[in-house]
Symmetry: C2
Subunit: 297 residues, 2 copies
């Protein structure tokens, strides 16, 4: 079974298709990397790419993409609603299958050093790759955006990058990190009463005392009460744990689960973990799945 | 997402490693076919191969394997405990992903015609590919084994093959068919009373009035009551349906499910179907699984 890393780079271009295509072409030139998706937003003036590859193949491909973005995007000219600090703004590596978080952190250093040394772009490491507590959160690193960093980086030692020079050119700076896969997951309740969804969301989310890797909000969607969640580390707080807690909390109000929905993509393991838990399948191993044993899989 | 067919051919050789290896080499020469497993049994004098490939790649590879087996295995000399009718005894095609049963049936005709015409081996089609009701069951076709068929095929019009000549050479005849994937699945109960496992098995299995695609027995394994099942078509009788019926029947005796176990390999979809059912995930699509969208996956 091939080891797989996901990478979800954000580039500061959502308006010029030829620029987005040039960055995509730099990635597609790497035959061992799968470019699964590109989402561009005009107002944000930003594009989010989704890539999957082996750990070995990922960093060289991303280096070429960052070089292409630096050549084509000028932060002096860039305007958009979304905060940004560089042409290649954020590069999170995500362990997907057969890969430890430590390997993704190693990738951030490998890529960060090359981007700093060879492209002369300042690089900050964040989340699991952060070298200081005040760099764990992306928002802290991106404070003041490109314009603010440009002024501060030369004078403020707190803004010294992890790799590359302490000065910012028109490609800005790049934030590279490692994090667990994010799953966007909504649960609809058998009621239209949004207040019940809000109470259930409050019980289940980390910020108000619930499960550690759950963010949740109660919403009203298409006339139904919805508990909208981000599961930020499914290996530590699995989907079924969040769903069963919602079921229990909702039953307190005489309400059940009507259905649930997945937004975007999900690692195979997150769903298999749920099957294994509900079926009480004690001896399960990913290698038992036929497709995972294909030579090219 | 690449379409995938599984094939589980049984060859009448379990003692001479060089013969088994020569058949494997004929398959490995096809780079687009994954040979996942070979199980050889000395007493049965028989080997079971597990292959996965696209529908297009599978039949040519199997043709080469059947030709290799015919050149190396002489049924006049073959002795073993397991019933057999040919050097390549049985070739079931199994739809795995993105493939309809009808396509697997088409494969049996495509392969059967070539084996009959080019190798001069009589071919009988069975299960979903059967051309007559008395050829649905493998045991009916294999009646009398090689020796019996050799005598009957020349005289009895009932034994006229679907493809190839009405005479048997030293390679015997080959039975080719299409069937759903088989899942071997055991459920342990929270009791040592095997009588409860027997009653639950009786309630859940097709033969005594239970679920259509379930075969089940109550056994005592390692001091625990076990409901041992073969799920013969997980798309029509899914795993969770069988497990939840066992849970309900066992609760009638005040007993629960202690755990379950999977024997051998399972198609990804069978476990994802369980996750989707328990999580009530209404909008799920196999393409939502990241790994299924890889270029080479």
């Amino acid at each position: 079974m091939q080891s797989l890393v996901e990478c979800v780079p954000n580039f500061s271009e959502g308006r010029r298709p030829e620029v987005i295509e040039a960055i995509a072409a730099a990635l597609r030139a790497h035959k061992d990397v799968s470019l699964l998706d590109i989402e561009s937003d005009y107002d944000h003036n930003r594009s989010v790419f989704t890539l999957v590859a082996s750990p070995e193949a990922m960093a060289p491909a991303m280096f070429d993409a960052i070089r292409a973005a630096a050549a084509l995007i000028d932060l002096e000219q860039h305007r958009g609603e979304h905060p940004r600090i560089g042409a290649t703004d954020v590069v999170p590596f995500v362990p997907l299958r057969g890969v430890e978080m430590a390997q993704c952190v190693a990738l951030t250093h490998q890529l960060g050093r090359r981007v700093g040394d060879e492209l002369g772009i300042p690089v900050y490491l964040y989340e699991e790759a952060a070298t200081r507590p005040d760099r764990v959160n992306l928002a802290d690193i991106r404070r003041g955006e490109y314009e603010g960093l440009k002024a501060e980086i030369v004078a403020n030692p707190d803004r010294l990058p992890d790799y590359g020079p302490a000065r910012v050119g028109p490609a800005g700076a790049t934030v590279i990190g490692a994090r667990a896969p994010l799953i966007a997951y909504n649960v609809y309740l058998t009621t239209s009463d949004v207040e019940i969804a809000r109470r259930v969301a409050k019980a289940v989310r980390n910020s108000s005392g619930g499960l550690r890797y759950v963010k949740a909000l109660g919403l009203s969607v298409k006339g139904k009460a919805q508990v909208s969640m981000n599961l930020t580390d499914f290996r530590k707080t699995p989907i079924h744990q969040a769903v069963e807690m919602i079921r229990r909390e909702a039953s307190r109000y005489g309400v059940g689960i009507e259905s649930s929905e997945l937004i975007g993509m999900i690692p195979q393991q997150a769903l298999l973990d749920a099957a294994v838990w509900y079926l009480q399948l004690n001896n399960f191993d990913l290698e038992m799945v036929l497709e995972n044993r294909l030579d090219n899989g």
